[in-house]
């Protein structure tokens, strides 16, 4: 069992984590970044099979020079901490006796950069949670068929080398569906990769998306990004008020049915890329004891969570996009490294501006109630344990449903069905339990914080 010590441990090497590392380094702090993926960049700056590291990831790694990186390493447990004794977060000056460091249990896969390869404990005076987000998947009949992928999921697989040109002249037929600006970005990337994008089905009404555009006069760069995306789509039909109602195929997806402005349409497809926006990743924060606000972790104006010396930045605090993640990462990195108020003030102002943009985005792409009714009683809601929606309807919350039906008990630990049930049945997501990821028994035994909190079934 390896022991690592640092001033600031940063979990996540996406834009927020990299900006936090750069800011912490600029304050002279010893920063250690722990990331589950083989390379830095998170999802938006994910390294690609064709081109290697994303140029932005490369740039920010340069700015974070001196920080240590553990890649291919998942934090699977952490000692829970009590809330701040008074107020929210921690204020300078620091107490005379330093508090006990946070302990994060890390499992690194063989071959991950950073050479722990196995279990390690990271002891950190401060922690920045830059955990990012995952896609929100909503169940509809047929959604477990091979060929149904996430929107960000398909983008990640394409960056991983998935070719969609196919044998036919027009390439693989893809329907891009769900909600949010990611749909257009991925559709454009698909067109450029030689795929045949049959349509983009955005559930939000056109009026809401137009209103968003009009509200962006103060953000000309974002407006320009939107216009450039539309140009890259080269005539792909973009449908609003449109969503997938069901898909079908014999062992593999062949056909998708879409409701568009009240009319039913069908598309012959090889793939449906479907995602309904993003869900903040909060599990590690919740395990440490951080309070949530809405879907993200609750933070104060310096991004301190409700647990002393733990900060959160980027999508973890609420979906805001890459610019918000960079601004928040910088602020959290400065705050965690003990920067003074003069340094923090401009960083705070940048975060506040980005949050206003995020609020506009969330309003424009609010999910419509019809989406909650797509799954029928025999539609699987828990993909790990094959539990149908009808089997959990009689319960009142996720925990009682899980104990009786195994819903949410499988390998993904409710990462998919938890957010789906929150939307479909209005059940709050259950608090996570360690280990956050499947790890070998040896790692559990070695974990200082890994004392079972409940008897192991």
């Amino acid at each position: 069992m390896r022991e690592l010590t640092c001033d600031v441990a940063i979990v996540g090497a996406g834009p927020a984590g990299l900006a936090a590392a750069a800011a912490a380094r600029a304050q002279g702090a010893d920063a250690l970044v722990i990331d589950e993926h083989p390379e830095a960049g998170g999802q938006i700056w994910r390294a690609s099979y064709a081109r290697g590291l994303h140029e932005q990831a490369r740039k920010w790694l340069e700015r974070a020079r001196g920080a240590r990186f553990l890649h291919g390493a998942a934090v699977y447990d952490a000692a829970p901490q009590g809330p701040a004794p008074q107020g929210h977060g921690e204020r300078a000056p620091r107490p005379a006796a330093p508090p006990a460091p946070h302990a994060l249990s890390v499992w690194q896969r063989a071959g991950g950069a950073g050479e722990v390869a196995g279990a390690a404990t990271v002891h950190a005076s401060r922690v920045v949670l830059a955990l990012g987000a995952t896609e929100r998947f909503l169940p509809f009949p047929g959604w477990t068929l091979p060929g149904v992928v996430g929107v960000g999921g398909l983008q990640a697989l394409m960056k991983g080398g998935l070719a969609l040109r196919g044998a036919r002249a027009e390439g693989r037929r893809v329907l891009v569906a769900g909600s949010g600006p990611l749909l257009l970005a991925v559709a454009a990337a698909l067109v450029e990769a030689g795929a045949h994008v049959v349509a983009v089905a955005e559930q939000a009404p056109r009026s809401a998306v137009l209103r968003l555009g009009l509200g962006l006069v103060a953000w000309p760069a974002k407006l320009a990004q939107g216009a450039a995306l539309t140009a890259r789509l080269r005539g792909v039909p973009v449908l609003h008020d449109a969503w997938v109602t069901r898909v079908e195929g014999a062992g593999r997806l062949t056909r998708a049915y879409v409701s568009h402005a009240g009319r039913a349409r069908a598309f012959d497809v090889d793939l449906v890329a479907c995602g309904f926006g993003l869900v903040p990743t909060t599990q590690l924060g919740e395990l440490i004891g951080c309070a949530r606000a809405g879907e993200g972790l609750a933070v104060d104006e310096d991004l301190a969570t409700s647990v002393p010396r733990v900060y959160a930045a980027g999508e973890t605090t609420g979906i805001g996009g890459v610019d918000a993640a960079l601004a928040e990462g910088a602020l959290a990195g400065l705050a965690a490294a003990g920067a003074d108020a003069r340094v923090l003030a401009p960083a705070r102002a940048r975060v506040a501006r980005q949050r206003r943009f995020a609020a506009k985005l969330a309003r424009a792409y609010a999910l419509r109630p019809e989406l909650r009714a797509l799954a029928s009683d025999d539609t699987l809601i828990c993909r790990c344990e094959d539990v149908a929606l009808g089997a959990v309807r009689g319960f009142t919350d996720a925990r009682s449903a899980k104990l009786a039906t195994r819903c949410g008990m499988g390998a993904c630990q409710a990462r998919v069905c938890g957010a789906a049930l929150e939307c479909v049945l209005g059940w709050p997501r259950e608090a996570p339990r360690p280990p956050l990821f499947p790890v070998p028994f040896a790692a559990l035994a070695a974990s200082p914080s890994g004392t079972p909190r409940e008897p192991v079934a």
């Binding site: 999921g153 195929g249 390998a411």
Partner: protein, 107 residues
């Protein structure tokens, strides 16, 4: 550490054992992407005996969904280690990949 961890063989043809058969793959390609690309190139639908990545509890064939380590739909047995997420791995020479049969991992 600041440079991407790409080996000199990146993009070269490598041989992967997939469910016991030797198959060619490209070095450095994401393993889940490779498995999905193979499935798309096959004209017939996957039979439960030959899933893209795994067979579910009820016997449904499954394939990668999230592509980023969250959903665990792409779990395979890799070099004897069960429940490895293919989307977090890359193709390399000599790797032994077994799709997950109904009822869980290979003994």
């Amino acid at each position: 550490m600041l440079e991407p961890s790409r080996s000199s063989s990146h993009g070269a043809t490598v041989r992967v054992t997939l469910d016991g058969a030797l198959v060619e793959a490209r070095a450095g390609m994401n393993l889940a992407a490779w498995l999905l690309e193979r499935a798309l190139a096959t004209s017939s639908a996957p039979r439960p005996a030959e899933p893209v990545t795994r067979v579910s509890v009820c016997g449904e064939p499954r394939a990668p969904l999230c592509g980023m380590g969250t959903c665990f739909e792409c779990r395979v047995t890799l070099d004897g280690q069960p429940h490895v997420r293919a989307c977090m791995e890359r193709c390399r020479e000599g790797m032994d990949v077994r799709t997950t049969p109904q009822g869980g991992a290979h003994a």
